[in-house]
């Protein structure tokens, strides 16, 4: 059971990547940085290392930011100076080593509903682009259809900077994974977007285009049937109202 036959590629351009993918038949293992479950790699599939594609740039353009999916979580943390909520969520998400190792692409492949960073990220209403198909989609769409053995990888994540962003979490310790966490962003038009995390495969997103008042019921609904090994529905529903109130207060909104 030797592995010498497995091919390893490190393309430098997208066209080179496309050429490799067209040449290689069947599954490939995309290496995007900070992969940790190597045991789950298809042991016979070629390895395609994406690190030289230049996909680790974070480009700010006015009100929008394009994050290359090979950027590490720590790069993102450093790039978002002044966005304390996002930085706090990243700090809870993982210690420095993992943040230095883990790319956004790999993070998005595996993050679950208890992830504080994913919760904050979803509040931004980001979109992602996939390669090699060049397809674009909302992040929550991608999250709901993640595959164990993806045939594509995320190349970039795009987001618009909101007017305000807030994050609240409840956990057993300051850096523990949250039992419940919520992030809210409000845009220039006053539209409110709330991500409800702490459970399930990914946080649930609520868009509030009318009065913030309607958020109360929608958030409560998001935590319906949220009982799991970490908390009860009753607790999450009750505390979600507390967190909502704090989020709105910190955004200067009231219910």
């Amino acid at each position: 059971m030797k592995n010498e036959t497995v091919a390893y590629f490190r393309p430098k351009t997208i066209s080179e990547l496309e050429e490799i993918l067209s040449r290689v038949q069947g599954e490939v293992n995309f290496l995007s940085g900070g992969d940790y479950n190597f045991a789950s790699l298809d042991q016979s599939a070629p390895l395609v290392d994406l690190q030289s594609l230049g996909l680790d740039q974070i480009i700010s353009n006015g009100n929008t930011v394009e994050i290359g999916a090979l950027a590490t979580l720590e790069q993102i943390k450093e790039a978002f100076q002044g966005w304390d909520c996002l930085q706090e969520a990243l700090s809870i998400e993982a210690g420095l080593n993992v943040r230095n190792s883990l790319s956004l692409a790999n993070f998005l492949k595996t993050a679950d509903g208890r992830s504080p960073f994913l919760c904050v990220l979803l509040a931004f209403a980001p979109t992602i682009a996939l390669l090699p198909s060049h397809q674009s989609m909302r992040l929550e769409t991608y999250l709901s259809s993640r595959q164990k053995k993806p045939t594509e990888f995320i190349s970039t994540l795009n987001l618009a900077l909101p007017k305000g962003l807030a994050f609240e979490a409840i956990a057993r310790t300051p850096k523990d994974r949250p039992i419940i966490c919520m992030a809210a962003a409000v845009d220039d038009l006053g539209k409110l977007r709330i991500a409800c995390g702490g459970m399930q495969n990914s946080p649930q997103v609520i868009n509030i285009s009318t009065e913030p008042q309607s958020a109360i019921d929608l958030v409560r609904q998001a935590y319906q049937q949220s009982t799991d090994a970490w908390a009860s529905t009753e607790y999450r529903q009750a505390t979600s109202q507390v967190l909502l109130s704090r989020l709105l207060q910190s955004l200067g909104l009231s219910v």
Binding site: Y8, D35, T173, D176
Partner: protein, 969 residues
Amino acid sequence: MKIQLEINRQTVEVEVAPQARLLDVLRQVGILSVKSGGCQRGECGACTVLLDGKPINSCMLLAVQAQGHAISTVEAEGEYLDQGWKQGVGLSPLQRAFIENGSIQCGYCTSAMVLAAKALLARNSDPSEAEVREALSGILCRCTAYVKPVEAVLRAAQLMREENDQAAKPLGTLKIVEADEIPETTVVGKAVPKVDASKLVQGKPAFTADFAPTGTLVAKVLRSPVAHARIKRIDATRARALPGVAAVLTWEDIPRVVYSTAGQSDPIPGPLDTFSLDNKVRFVGDRVAFVAAETEAIAQKALELIEVEYEELPAVLDSREAMKPGAPIIHDEPEYVNFADSDPTHNKAAAIRIDIGDVEQGFAEADRIYEQEYEVPKVQQAHIEPHVALSYWDADGRLVIYSSTQVPFHARRMLAPLLKLPVKRIRVIKPRIGGGFGGKQEVLIEDVVAHLTIATGKPVLYQMSREEEFIASRSRHPMRIKMRTGVKRDGTITANEMIALSDTGAYGCHALTVTGNTGQKSMALYVGDGKYRLSPNIRFYADIVYTNTPPAGAYRGYGVPQGFWPLERHMEMIARDLGLDPLSFRIKNALRSGEYQPFSTSWNEGREPRPEIVETVGLEKCVREGAQAIDWEHKYRNPEWHEVPGKPHLKRGIGVAMVMQGTAIPYLDMGGASLKLNEDGSFNLLVGATDLGTGSDTILAQMAAEILGVNTEDIIVYSSDTDFTPFDKGAYASSTTYISGTAVIKAAVEVSEKICARAVKMFAANGKVVAADEITLKEGCAIAPDGSRITLAEIALESLHHAEQEQIMAVASYVSPSSPPPFAAQFATVLVDTQTGQVQVEDLVMAVDGGVIINPATASGQIEGGMAQALGYAVCEEMRYDEHGVAREKDLVDYHIFRADEMPNLKTIFVQTYEPTHPFGAKAVAEIPMDGVAPAVGNAVLDACGAQIYANPITPEKVWESLKRTKRG
């Protein structure tokens, strides 16, 4: 494939499998400072390297991905300065700082911390404490609570800024309260660096896995997916046929020998109920088969090819169901060997019934009786180095086993019958251990590698994964405990009763002794006052039952933390209900010096009780010192302090718990030491004692050095090798300083007498008449009353080469008739969010009477690290199972242990007493910090907001529930 890696500025060409992790390849090329914590999600950080100057986890990267990047490891950080005729560059300021302030305990994560700190200081020469904590946030340490590593980084930054004129940063969180009666010493009592610190800070090969020879086979264990089943059929044919597989062993292949995995003295005080492999599985994670293969991937594949047909049986997952009529019987094997009151037909691993005084009369005399049920969870030791063992046949046909064990001598004795080898053909070597905390007081995996070496004839290495640590190693016994206490209106306790239901899991290792300690140590603290003090009324009953969950075992504190959670929560409830000051109420009823340890009159782990008087009790002083340090007077019952301005939902609270532990097991624990003089006046100290990162090798060297008049650098310590060192029962029961230390002292005294006798002759040869008892050993010399001196090197040369040749040496051993308890007062402050139930612990202050402190750096490291573990027990650590017995916690993400960047303020105070039963007045400090944090935090939460939590950990939902109940009235 062949790749080139730039490692420490050198280009290294290496042949690798494309899927090989950087971690494994670095170790393959001899970079052994990079450690594996067995984790799957990079959460432990033990494998840190710098990649282009940034700390990353080498387990999260394939080696091929690292091509083109600069890899730095601690091997390039510094080296020994003095290398004989060659001068080395010396250690780096960071390395020196880590050594000098006692940052290194087990040392398993030290290389990682040094690298993370190096990366920080390269971009920020003057970091704040918060920035240092952030830099270390990716590396989990279970020993230090990060206190000293953070101080070391700050100190190194200072050194690197060339602020060398400043004195070394003091241990800011430590205070030592001296006692008058302590004699003056020169080495004992000083914070000398650990004797193993230099090699650990350089990442030298020191741990079990570092010694695997080329060609070592990798072992893996197939584990049960079901909680309770018979193995109807097992077929390893396909696995054995897989190329690269050297052996597959099932229960059909090895001798069926019943034993207990508990690493304890003979006879094991518990039932024999375990087999290396059995035809029945008793928990999810139980052993089914062993594999040895050329690579880990092949071994893993082989596991998947083993065909097993299970006949599932009903499982018992709740301890309350275990003894009910009709419950499934977990141990029905005919080989089962009972101990004391074990009864497998009722799933009972052990039972304890202790009555001291007249408990019912005590209750009859009480004005009030308080009753409450409490619960404590199963928790994990979570040492960063997983269980690891390596075995091979040596050239003489003897089986050599390197093991990360706390009990090498017990391991040798217990393995012999399993392997059908006599003890004399087994050698167990304990190198450095990457943390143990009781988890390695177990003969847990040595049999796996030994069986596989016997089967294959080849070296075999087995290191458990982090998931295996959670599903298949040992843990703290979870218990349900009913308290019932009779009290007079003035606060005098008239009777105290604890009834425990303890869950030992699928096997009864440590079942009796852990649970015995639960009562024996905690319930001994409060004897009552007045006539009750003379004749206390105390009851402790316990049933220890089997369930189909992973076995519990030894974990630092050894049953005592389970006892102090209910006891100290209960005492708080009583004090508050009676309107008494919680400090005075406790002190009024607490054990005092000169009184009997009440349990010593009635119980002794299944042996004959031996009444014992407690000589030193520094508890009252601990309370005074601790209260002052946490500012109790200002905070307790001060409404203003309890509020947070502008945030009415936040409430502050302050709490206390008083605790006691033990020091060794009297009349049982034995340690041995051998000491010999070398030609340069240095000494070889050989001890069986097992330093598991605590620094015991160092304090043993200090005690020897004190007597022999040399520095610790002149004591070369070699420990824990069953071929070369004298017997020692191992590292448990807080016994090394006290038991092994006394053995060392005895040997040192004997050697010093021989040195003095030789010096008398040498002085006489120079015409000086001196009596042996007039000679002082000091500064490496024998000094006559007139100040003339002969060096120890001269004495050694004389005795070894010149006249009446002899080897000046001695062997000594010690077993104690006493177990002097250390005492402590633990204080905590918390901030509670009353809307969500979230608790943040802000301060922990522990004032400890551990007798005379031999080494303040190592001892305070024990207290700090212990408090951090106990903090987890207080607020976040627990192991839970679903309805099929499948674990919720399988890694260090879900099983959260505190990171560097979230620790509360910690303060340690040593209130020294001079314990007369130890030559230097020492007691123990290693386990007591586990006992008081959880109840102190629980009491602080009560103080903050009125939430009464009866089951730890104190999670947000429990606090929220309690507050909701209170509101409902």
